[in-house]
């Protein structure tokens, strides 16, 4: 297992180098830079813009720019955000807690809902309930999250007043107090529900199909023949086997947790990685944009590795070497 992990990790290096070249080229191919766009003649002058371009190294040859960037990156220096004027690393660290909270809450909601619906569907396949659940799942999957977000705000925040409509915390409560954490949960719940409830389809259907498949297997027939209660067969014997494939999803969710939800975060004005990503695209904040893309690429690769390893852990039949 250790050998396998090391081999995989080493294999990631050329992949990451390739990704870095692609990310860098794509960023540089975007027209304009952080200094172009609508000019405010009050605040700036052509001389200032020319000077800043020189200072930021935008006039260097591309390979030099790439080399400077990647050298800094390897040493953990992600550069300075051209928009916020602070190191990108600090910027990302500032947003990560919010995004993690939102991501984990959404994932928990997804898992709980998918688990309940999947178990129900798997046990009673092709019934009205099963079809209703499938219908619900696919409708949710089909609704774009920004539509759901806008409607959720309108209904739950403005009409029913159950949740706040924006932000991650009420600024008037004291930081660190009990109310502070309550306020944070209160703020995160609505976006988390929008995110979580919308993405149950794959988990539910996966679980359902696996349960159906397992229920036809020999060990289930044996258990039935022995007179084990149906409830126990489903909740213990089948479930334990059916959860295994779900574990692989966890690896893929890993990158999504940090990556944040670009659209949902923006609509809820929830300051996280997703919102930062969108802003860095619109304002040509290359250092932030490139650091985030690299980070997400790395996490995706790492998540895949994690999924493979976890697979080996939960299912002894699979050997990694």
């Amino acid at each position: 297992m250790l050998k396998y992990s090391i081999r995989r990790l080493l294999g990631m290096i050329p992949m990451l180098i390739l990704i870095s070249i692609v990310v860098f080229s794509l960023a540089k191919l975007m027209p304009g830079d952080s200094l172009s766009g609508e000019i405010d003649p009050l605040n700036t002058s052509p001389e200032y813009i020319a000077e800043m371009r020189e200072k930021l190294g935008y006039n260097d040859p591309l390979p030099v720019q790439y080399f400077n960037w990647i050298t800094g990156f390897m040493q953990g220096d992600f550069g300075k955000s051209t928009r916020f004027q602070i190191p990108v690393f600090d910027l990302i660290m500032e947003k990560v807690p919010n995004t993690l909270l939102l991501g984990v809450t959404a994932l928990v909601i997804t898992y709980i809902m998918a688990f309940i619906m999947g178990m129900y569907s798997g046990r009673r396949p092709y019934t009205l309930g099963d079809n209703a659940i499938a219908g619900f799942n696919y409708v949710m999957l089909a609704i774009p999250s920004f539509v759901a977000a806008v409607f959720a705000i309108y209904i739950f925040a403005f009409q029913l007043n159950w949740f706040p409509f924006a932000g991650s915390v009420d600024i008037l409560v004291e930081e660190g107090s009990f109310e502070y954490y309550v306020s944070r949960m209160h703020h995160v719940l609505l976006p988390a529900i929008v995110l979580g409830a919308m993405s149950t389809a794959s988990y539910t259907q996966f679980l359902r199909n696996d349960i159906i498949e397992n229920s036809r297997k020999d060990f289930v027939r044996t258990a039935r023949a022995k007179g084990t209660p149906i409830k126990k067969i489903y909740n213990v014997h089948i479930l334990r086997n059916s959860i295994i494939p779900l574990v692989t999803f966890l690896g893929f969710d890993f990158a999504a947790l940090i990556g944040g939800a670009i659209i949902t975060e923006t609509i809820f004005t929830y300051p996280g990685i997703g919102q930062l990503f969108l802003e860095s695209v619109t304002s040509r904040d290359y250092p932030t944009l490139m650091a985030l893309t690299m980070l997400l690429s790395f996490l995706t690769l790492f998540g895949n590795l994690l999924a493979d390893i976890l697979y080996g852990v939960v299912d002894p039949r699979i050997r990694l070497d």
Partner: protein
Amino acid sequence: MKKKSLLWLFALVLILSAFLAACGGSDDASSESGSEGDGSSEGTAEGEPQKGGTLVYGLDAPPEGLFSSAFYGIATDAEVIDLFDEALISYNENLEPEPNVASWETEDNKVFNFKFEEGVKWHNGEELTVNDWVFALETIADPDYDGPRYANVQTIEGAEAYRSGDADSISGIEVVSDYEINITFDEARVNNLTNLWAYPLPESVLGDVPVAEMSASEWVRSTPIGIGPFKVDKIVPGESVEFSKFDEYWNGEVNLDKIVLRVIDNSSVVGALQNNDIDMISLQPVSGPEVEPLENVEIVTYPGLTYYYVGFKLGKFDNESQTITEELPKYQSKELRQAMMYALNRQEWVDAFFFGYADVVNKPVPSAHWNAADDSELIQYEYDPEKSKQMLDEAGYVDTNDDGFREDPNGDEFVVKFSHYATGNPTFESRAQQIAQYFEEVGLRSEVEMVEVNLYYDMVEKDDASIETFFGGWGTGTDPDPSGLWKADQLWNYPRYNNPEADQLLDDALDIEIVGTDQEKRKELYVEWQKIVNEELPMLYIAELEEIKALNTRVGGVEYDVSGQNSPAEWFVTE
């Protein structure tokens, strides 16, 4: 990912409109819709100012977090700074400077003597002295300074030498006492004062920070201080700021106890206003019609300093030599440009795309400026397609091959190529198409090209051959001098308009030898200049925008004029 964000924006606007229609429908359209903005506009609550209470101030875009006058880059940050800091000099509704903390005297417009109020306190309890201002000026002139304000310090005598490292201090700054300072400029200009950087920086907290690290320091990011009526208590980056009343504010009583600033997404603005979740916010024109019917909200408009235009590329500019090197023949005919102006139904266009929150203009100087020419002195270019057709006929643009469109005087095909920037806002394409449609109606074949916004400005600036006529906008500041956008040696003179006579007028209006300190005389010269560009039309002036604010009816004491809002100290809320 680029595509994704564009798609998102597009879809969001569609959804937004459905959503707005839904929540607007439940109200009777009975409330009055805002006072019209001529001169100044007042907030809505009646009666005596009340003490206490919390006002919620909305922002529809997240600030970048550069909460220092010397370092901020975008208007959103400036809105936050305005709540806790103020300038040494303020501007009245005619955009003329007025003493605030500092008053001044000058005899020759070269040497200025400033006197500060005594007893003005920073939020950390230190007293404001002229040294804080010197500190600000030296910070901005420092070679390590990474903000965009150097142009406002450059004109002080010795600033160049300080910046290049040849001097240890700026020679034009002479501190007389803690409350008195003399500033000498490199030459006498009429606009030296309005151009000068007039915000102090707190030396007591930033004094030990190297200039290169200032913009990233916590004093700028999370614990900024100023001299305004409110002090910053807490900042949650990107989403909210809490301000509380500053008890030692130098200039009178402060009414409110607290201001809470919240960032909200555009899609939530109308709902938040309706639910009393926010008390005041700037509105986009598109939200105006949805907010007007709300009973608990009033809309206040005041004149803005932004105008939109359709420019012609008349030449090419060489940035090295700062001269216009080549003349492009296609749109040189003044009659053609005037005919195209008469072809535009600008009022209809403005009503359709700015929902009435804009006025048609015929000059490139916002009407709120003191040097704006009166309409009676300018050609008005009322929509007149018949006149347009006639002018085109006379200028030789006639349809010679019966394809329904006019050819140029040589008989070659003539196509108006019109470029507009694209940002994902779906109305941009339709508004560009509409302009092309007006040209086609008088027989000029037109093509619209939408270009991604950053690339667009790059192309316009570099005189790319594919840009022939282009849509653009400029915001002008408190200094009404249009030289930076109009003279032949300026990069931002995008039409490459080259008229030595007009340039001479602009130079004269700034020349202290000619105009002295006589504002009337300056105005005459500017009016003369406006008459020229009004007749020659190097660009087709379209409209100037109004600023739109939504105020909850419980808010009072808020006043707006063209220079912006009044001091937040005067704001109050009723329960």
